[in-house]
C-alpha cells in the first residue's frame, strides 16, 4: 500500500500510458501500411516489440471489423481508433510524468482531474473488449495490450485518488489536533486549468487523426478496377438469397468453409449492408472433391456444405449462415472425412437435405456454379464480390469495404 504522498500511482500510470502508446502505435502502423491496398503482415502479440506476423487471425479480424475505425464512408478504411488511443495515451504520458515529477507539489485538482479522466481509456477498452468477445468472438493480442495498458493507467489514477483522500483525511485530523499548525497543503489552481487540460487532451487526440485524414492517398481511381463478370448466361441453379430491403444487385462467389468469406459475411451483416443487396450467390467451394481446379482440398468438406445450401431452397441463406456460424466445427469435421461433415448437415437440417446433397442433381447444380466461375474467368479465390458486374478488388472487401460501397453503391450504406 502506498503512502499518501507516494509517487507509485503516477509511476504505474506512466508505465501504463507508455505501453498504451506502444501498442496503439503498432495498431496504427498496421492500419496505415494497408493504405497501399496490399496485404501486409501485422503486429499480433502482447509482448512489446514482437515482430510482425502473417498469422494472427484474431488481430486481422479485429482490424477488418467495422469497429476498428470511424468515418469509414468518408475515408478508405476510415480513421483507425487506435490513432485516437495513441494521442490520448501521449497526453496521459505527459500528465502522469508531471504528477511523478511534481509529487506532493501537484495541485489537488490535477490529481482529481487525472483520477477521473484516466478512467476513460479503461471504459473504452472494456467497451471494445465486450465487442470483441460478443461480435467478433475473439480478442486480438495487440488490442489486449491496449486493454492492459488502460488498466494500469486506471489503476495508477485510482491509487492517486485514494492517496489524495487519505492525505486530506490526515490533514483534517492534524488540523483538529493542532489547530495553530498549518498543514502542508497541496497548491490550488484556478478552475481554468482542468479546462485547459481537457483542451490539451482533445488536441492530442484529434490532431493525429486530422493529419492522417489529410495525408492518406486517394483511393477513388482504384475502385472497381479489378475486372468484372463477362456477358455469359447465368445458370438457373444460381441462388437468389432473400434479403430485407434489396436495393442493389450483387453477385457473390463464396465458399461456406472459407474463413475470409465468413468474416466478409459477418462484416456485411454488422455494417447493415447485406440486407440491402439483392444477392446472386454462386457456390465456389475450394475443395477438390467437386472442384477440379484444385489438386488438394483447401477447405475439405465444403462441397458437401455447398450442395446442402443448394438443396435448401428458400432456406439457402439460413444454411449458409449456419455454415458460417459453425465453421470451426464444420472445418474440423471436414478434415475427418465426408461422413463426419454429412453427419453435421443431417443433424441440423434433416434427412431430406442430406439426401439431396448426396444426389446427382445437387452435384449437377454445383457443377453449373463452378462452370459459371470458369466462364467468367474469375480468380481462384473467395470471396469475390461483383456489383452490377463490376468486381470489388480484394482490398475493398476488407478495410475499404464501407468506403467502396459508399462510392460505388451509395444507396447500400444509407
Amino acid at each position: 500500500m502506498s503512502a499518501p504522498n507516494s509517487k507509485i500511482p503516477a509511476a504505474i500510470a506512466l508505465v501504463g500510458s507508455l505501453l498504451g502508446v506502444l501498442f496503439a502505435t503498432y495498431s496504427t502502423l498496421d492500419y496505415s501500411n494497408h493504405l497501399d491496398r496490399r496485404l501486409h503482415d501485422i503486429h499480433c502479440s502482447i509482448i512489446p516489440g514482437a515482430p510482425v506476423t502473417s498469422a494472427g487471425d484474431a488481430c486481422r479480424a479485429a482490424m477488418y471489423s467495422p469497429y476498428s475505425a470511424i468515418l469509414k464512408e468518408r475515408f478508405w478504411g476510415g480513421i483507425p481508433i487506435s490513432l485516437f488511443a495513441q494521442g490520448a495515451f501521449i497526453f496521459f504520458v505527459g500528465f502522469s510524468l508531471y504528477l511523478l515529477l511534481a509529487g506532493a507539489r501537484a495541485p489537488k485538482q490535477a490529481l482529481s482531474f487525472f483520477g477521473l479522466i484516466a478512467l476513460t481509456p479503461l471504459a473504452a477498452s472494456l467497451t471494445m473488449l465486450t465487442i470483441s468477445l460478443v461480435k467478433l468472438g475473439s480478442v486480438c493480442t495487440t488490442c489486449a495490450g491496449i486493454y492492459t495498458s488502460s488498466t494500469l493507467l486506471a489503476l495508477g489514477a485510482l491509487l492517486g485518488l485514494r492517496n489524495l483522500r487519505a492525505a486530506a483525511s490526515a490533514d483534517g485530523q492534524q488540523a483538529n489536533m493542532r489547530p495553530n499548525v498549518q498543514s502542508a497543503e497541496r497548491p490550488q489552481v484556478p478552475m481554468l486549468f482542468p479546462l485547459a487540460w481537457l483542451l490539451a487532451l482533445a488536441v492530442c487526440t484529434i490532431v493525429p487523426a486530422r493529419v492522417y485524414a489529410s495525408s492518406m492517398p486517394d483511393h477513388r481511381p482504384y475502385l472497381g478496377t479489378c475486372g468484372g463478370l463477362k456477358n455469359v448466361r447465368e445458370p438457373k441453379s444460381l441462388l437468389h438469397l432473400h434479403t430485407a430491403e434489396p436495393v442493389q444487385q450483387a453477385t457473390l462467389f463464396e465458399d461456406p468453409l472459407c474463413p475470409t468469406c465468413r468474416a466478409f459475411h459477418h462484416r456485411m451483416l454488422a455494417e447493415n449492408m447485406f440486407d440491402k443487396l439483392n444477392p446472386t450467390m454462386v457456390m465456389f467451394p475450394l475443395d477438390s472433391e467437386c472442384n477440379w481446379m484444385l489438386e488438394e482440398p483447401l477447405h475439405p468438406g465444403s462441397c458437401v456444405v455447398a450442395r446442402a445450401v443448394l438443396c435448401a431452397g428458400d432456406n439457402a441463406r439460413a444454411v449458409l449462415e449456419w455454415a458460417y456460424d459453425e465453421q470451426p466445427a464444420l472445418t474440423e469435421a471436414g478434415k475427418s472425412g465426408k461422413t463426419a461433415i454429412e453427419g453435421m448437415v443431417g443433424a441440423r437440417w434433416g434427412d431430406s437435405i442430406l439426401q439431396c446433397s448426396r444426389s446427382k442433381d445437387a452435384q449437377k447444380k454445383l457443377n453449373e456454379h463452378l462452370h459459371y466461375a470458369v466462364d467468367n474467368g474469375i480468380d481462384l479465390s473467395t470471396p469475390q464480390v461483383f456489383l452490377d458486374g463490376k468486381r470489388f478488388c480484394d482490398e475493398d472487401t476488407d478495410i475499404g469495404l464501407r468506403y467502396t460501397m459508399a462510392q460505388l453503391a451509395p444507396q447500400v450504406v444509407k
Binding site: L35, G94, R105, P187, Q188, P208, S215, P217, G377, D379
Partner: protein
C-alpha cells in the same frame, strides 16, 4: 496562505515538472503526427508506383486431365477449329475428308488418342442402317452428359460399318452423330451455348474404324449400364449376334473431354 500566494506557489515551484511534462507531450505528439503523415505518404507512393507486382492469383479454368497430351490437344484443337466448334458463324461438324486433312494423323493414332476416354465416354450402338436411339442409348448419353465435371467440350464421333456405299455411310454416320446431339439438346433445352459445347465428327466408314478386339470392351449402350466398361465385358451390338468389327462401328462415341484448349 491566500489565493494569490498559492498561485504564486504553483507557478513558482511547479514550473519545472510541468514544463518537462509539456515538453515531453509536445515532442511525442509531434513525433506521432510526423510518423502518421510519413506512413500515409509512403503508402500513397507505394500505391502509385508499386515496387512489387501484386501476386498473381490463378483463375478458374476448365479441367485438364493427364490424357491431354500435346498431341491429343493438337489433334483436338485442329478438329474443333475445323469443325466449327471454336469459330463463330462457321459450319458445324466435320466430315471424314475434313478430319483426314486437319487431324493429319493415321487411323490407328487417331483412335489411340481416345483410349484414355474409355471410362469417361460411351459407345452408342445402332442397328444396321439405323440412326435412332433406343432406351439404353438414351440412358447412356444422359449419364455421360450429366457427368460433366470440369470439361468444356463434349465430343461425338459418329461411324458406320463398311457395309454399303461410302456416300451412304458418310450420311449415316452424320445422322448418328446428330442423334446424340439432339438428345443432348433435349437434356439442356435452355442452353443457347450448347452448339459451342458439342463437337461433332462423322467418319463414315472411311477413317479410324474401331477394332472390335479393343473397343467391344468399352462401355456401350448394349450393356447394362452398371456393368458397362468392365474389362472383357464384350456385348453384342444392336441386331448383331456378337460384337465384331461391323457392330462396333455402327456407333457414335460420346464423351466429355477434360482438356483446356
Amino acid at each position: 496562505m491566500n489565493a494569490s500566494a498559492q498561485n504564486s506557489n504553483v507557478s513558482g515551484s511547479n514550473w519545472l515538472p510541468s514544463s518537462i511534462a509539456a515538453g515531453v507531450t509536445v515532442a511525442l505528439l509531434t513525433a506521432l503526427t510526423l510518423s502518421v503523415r510519413s506512413n500515409c505518404v509512403a503508402a500513397g507512393e507505394r500505391l502509385t508506383t508499386p515496387d512489387v507486382a501484386k501476386p498473381k492469383v490463378a483463375t478458374a479454368e476448365d479441367a485438364e486431365a493427364k490424357y491431354c497430351t500435346p498431341q491429343f490437344k493438337d489433334v483436338l484443337q485442329r478438329v474443333l477449329h475445323s469443325c466449327g466448334l471454336m469459330n463463330e458463324n462457321s459450319r458445324r461438324g466435320c466430315k471424314p475428308a475434313d478430319v483426314k486433312t486437319f487431324a493429319s494423323i493415321s487411323d490407328e493414332d487417331f483412335n489411340a488418342l481416345f483410349r484414355p476416354l474409355k471410362d469417361r465416354g460411351g459407345v452408342v450402338l445402332f442397328e444396321t442402317g439405323k440412326d435412332d436411339l433406343d432406351e439404353a442409348a438414351r440412358k447412356l448419353i444422359d449419364e455421360r452428359w450429366e457427368d460433366r465435371r470440369g470439361a468444356r467440350y463434349f465430343l461425338v464421333v459418329g461411324r458406320a460399318s463398311t457395309t454399303g456405299s461410302t456416300e451412304k455411310n458418310r450420311a449415316l454416320s452424320h445422322r448418328r452423330a446428330n442423334s446424340v446431339l439432339f438428345r443432348v439438346k433435349e437434356l439442356t433445352p435452355d442452353d443457347p451455348d450448347i452448339e459451342n459445347k458439342v463437337g461433332l465428327l462423322w467418319l463414315g466408314s472411311e477413317f479410324a474404324q474401331l477394332d472390335e478386339k479393343e473397343f467391344c470392351a468399352w462401355p456401350n449402350s448394349g450393356a447394362p449400364t452398371d456393368q458397362a466398361g468392365a474389362q472383357g465385358d464384350k456385348v453384342a451390338a444392336k441386331g448383331a449376334e456378337k460384337c465384331d468389327d461391323k457392330a462396333i462401328n455402327q456407333s457414335a462415341f460420346a464423351s466429355w473431354v477434360d482438356c483446356r484448349l
